[in-house]
């Protein structure tokens, strides 16, 4: 038993090791960035935006990665507060659980800006994000137009109950609801995951061989769906639209394998996060919400 406890302690130490940024001169601005995860391309891109904008402005960064665990992020934010950064940029794992983290930062006089998702607290200075409902609508509109207002569609949904899943579904269903000829044959979750996206699409193609278009609520699932479509020999027969504009998905669109992806531009979100932080620290007032406009990336986007 004692042995087990010791090993648990060692493990906990290993797991809790955070990625602490470099230490520069003392009087530079320090911004703490608490990411919900850095294990998927979307947030890796966002971190690139944050890093490059920070380097340009000569801001010191402290970055943590909560690996999608709200409890872990809460304790990471507590650790960050003890460093007394000038500002906390928070990409929260969960909108409710992180309320106490935001309030603790506020108590320590550290302003908080949320990015990508927000936290349900009036202590949040401003929220920078993409308009997922509008993105879902753009995807629905595009599919309806590609099918000339008539055809069968299926939707691959993200993690059920996440705000991205709800909002993207809402926008998409609103848009295709305006066309009587468009039928939503099935909507099934594939948890924002590529393997599941492939398996679920394979199964749905068995049940509905007459599918004309697939909307996946992120690119990972869309790329999985492409593999299933390929295996069924239905390339060029099914319109595939993803979301997030990950680099691999953009490549697939450029090569004509995938039809479109909604660009929520995580990179721009990251850059905007640092820019807004600096504006605030320079005494400017910020709106309570900054939404990055969404663009649909299609093959036309690459024709130049």
């Amino acid at each position: 038993m004692k042995k087990t406890l010791v090993w648990f302690a060692v493990l906990t130490l290993l797991l809790g090791t955070v990625n602490v940024g470099h230490v520069f001169a003392k009087d530079t601005v320090e911004i703490a960035v608490a990411f919900c995860t850095l294990n998927i391309p979307f947030f890796v891109e966002m971190e690139n935006g944050v890093r490059e904008a920070a380097e340009e402005a000569q801001v010191r960064l402290v970055v943590t990665n909560a690996e999608d665990s709200a409890a872990k992020q809460l304790s990471q934010v507590e650790d960050l507060i003890t460093r007394k950064p000038d500002l906390l940029l928070l990409a929260p794992v969960d909108s409710d659980v992180l309320v106490s983290a935001v309030e603790a930062a506020h108590k320590a006089n550290i302003p908080v800006i949320t990015i990508d998702r927000t936290v349900n607290s009036d202590k949040v200075l401003t929220y920078i994000g993409v308009d997922d409902v509008a993105g879902g609508r753009a995807a629905g509109q595009y599919i309806a137009e590609r099918l000339n207002g008539e055809g069968n569609v299926i939707m691959l949904e993200g993690v059920m109950g996440s705000s991205a899943q709800r909002d993207r579904a809402q926008g998409f269903e609103e848009a295709i609801g305006e066309y009587e000829g468009i039928k939503l044959l099935a909507k099934q979750t594939a948890n924002f995951n590529r393997v599941e996206g492939m398996n679920v699409t394979e199964n749905l193609l068995q049940a509905h061989p007459d599918v004309d278009a697939i909307f996946a609520q992120n690119d990972e699932m869309a790329l999985g769906a492409l593999r299933a479509i390929e295996a069924a020999g239905k390339q060029d027969k099914i319109v595939v639209v993803g979301f997030d504009a990950d680099p691999e998905a953009k490549d697939a669109v450029r090569l004509g394998e995938m039809d479109a992806t909604v660009e929520g531009s995580p990179y721009k979100l990251g850059v905007m996060g640092i820019e807004a932080s600096l504006q605030y620290l320079n005494g400017e007032t910020l709106p309570s919400q900054i939404l990055i406009p969404l663009e649909l990336v299609t093959q036309d986007s690459f024709a130049e």
Binding site: N39, V44, A207, A231
Partner: protein, 322 residues
């Protein structure tokens, strides 16, 4: 005592029952193309679950298989995309898998650390190595010849299914008819007796964990090939499906009792449920509840069938004695 029909085949009957219900509810379910589809889908979990059967037969557990899948897939893909020869890339992936398993087994036996802890540590460490190696980004553009392992066909049968079939037959024969197989059962069934009767317990344990790493690598290569891309998040949660298949298939978590054939049935039950729920377009909110209920229900029915059989045998013995 010979096991009765129900004791041996209870879980197979549960699988057939689920299939019967699904073919009644969905006209597509029983078509040849859907059945091939299901078997191709379970080949990933099936290969892992076979390795996990050996582990659980020794009374151990390996929580790190999902991370092993991700790391071996990423290493193979990384080498391929940097222009390394296909054969070398695949062998390197297999080597890394075997090495991780060997490390797991060695720490468990030499360090005396419980498998749960060692493999829990490896779960995060190997995932971390994958993220470092890939920089958090998927590796793609792997060339068309590599797609053979996951997306190819031989004689009309998908290659992953053929790979699963070969591993299944070899593992079944190994478990039933070799010294290695008998000693694995002995180590899990009664470790002390096994040691007294001359079994080198530690050697067998290291071999079993190395075998698991090797099978994880095969899974990683097949999965990466199917997707045409190595995703750093690939394989997360795979350990749970593999363990579930083994346990549904009747292998005891305490070790020493179970069979590879049961594990195949367990993997099929999980695969058929996932497929059926998609075919019937069951609401995603209800799916998780239904999956949970069916899995526990299947094991309950199996246990009930076995118990009843045991009681019947007992009472018939008593009667004959009276």
């Amino acid at each position: 005592m010979e096991k009765s029909f129900l004791q041996k085949y209870g879980i197979l009957l549960v699988l057939l029952l689920i299939c019967a219900v699904l073919s009644f509810l969905s006209p597509v379910f029983l078509t040849a193309s859907n059945l091939i589809n299901v078997i191709r889908q379970i080949s990933i979990n099936g290969i892992l679950a076979i390795g996990m059967t050996f582990i659980i037969l020794t009374g151990g557990i390996d929580l790190s298989v999902g991370s092993q899948v991700a790391l071996t897939g990423a290493v193979t893909a990384g080498l391929l995309s940097s222009g390394v020869n296909l054969g070398i890339a695949v062998v390197a992936g297999l080597f890394i898998g075997g090495l991780i398993g060997f490390v797991n087994g060695t720490i468990i036996t030499k360090g005396g650390v419980p498998p749960f802890i060692v493999t829990l540590g490896m779960l995060t460490a190997a995932r971390g190595l994958t993220l470092i190696y890939t920089g958090g980004r998927p590796i793609y553009n792997l060339g068309t010849s590599f797609r053979f392992f996951g997306a190819g066909y031989m004689g009309g049968i998908p290659v992953p299914v053929i790979i699963l079939g070969i591993i299944l037959i070899v593992s079944h024969l190994t478990a039933k008819h070799t010294v290695f197989g008998r000693e694995v059962y002995a180590v899990g069934g009664n470790p002390e007796a096994a040691v007294y009767s001359g079994v080198n317990k530690n050697k067998r344990l290291v071999q079993v964990y190395t075998l698991m790493g090797f099978l994880s690598a095969i899974t990683g290569i097949v999965l990466t090939s199917r997707l045409g891309s190595a995703d750093p998040t690939a394989g997360s949660g795979f350990e749970l499906d593999a363990i579930a298949a083994v346990v549904i298939g009747g292998t005891s978590m305490f070790g020493g009792e179970g069979a590879i054939s049961g594990t195949l049935v367990g993997a099929l039950i999980i695969g058929v449920i996932n497929n059926g729920l998609n075919l019937l377009n069951v609401s995603s909110y209800y799916q998780q509840v239904i999956k949970g209920v069916i899995v526990v229900g299947a094991v309950l029915m199996d246990g009930y069938a076995r118990n009843k059989q045991t009681k019947l045998t007992k009472s018939s013995v008593e009667q004959s004695q009276a």
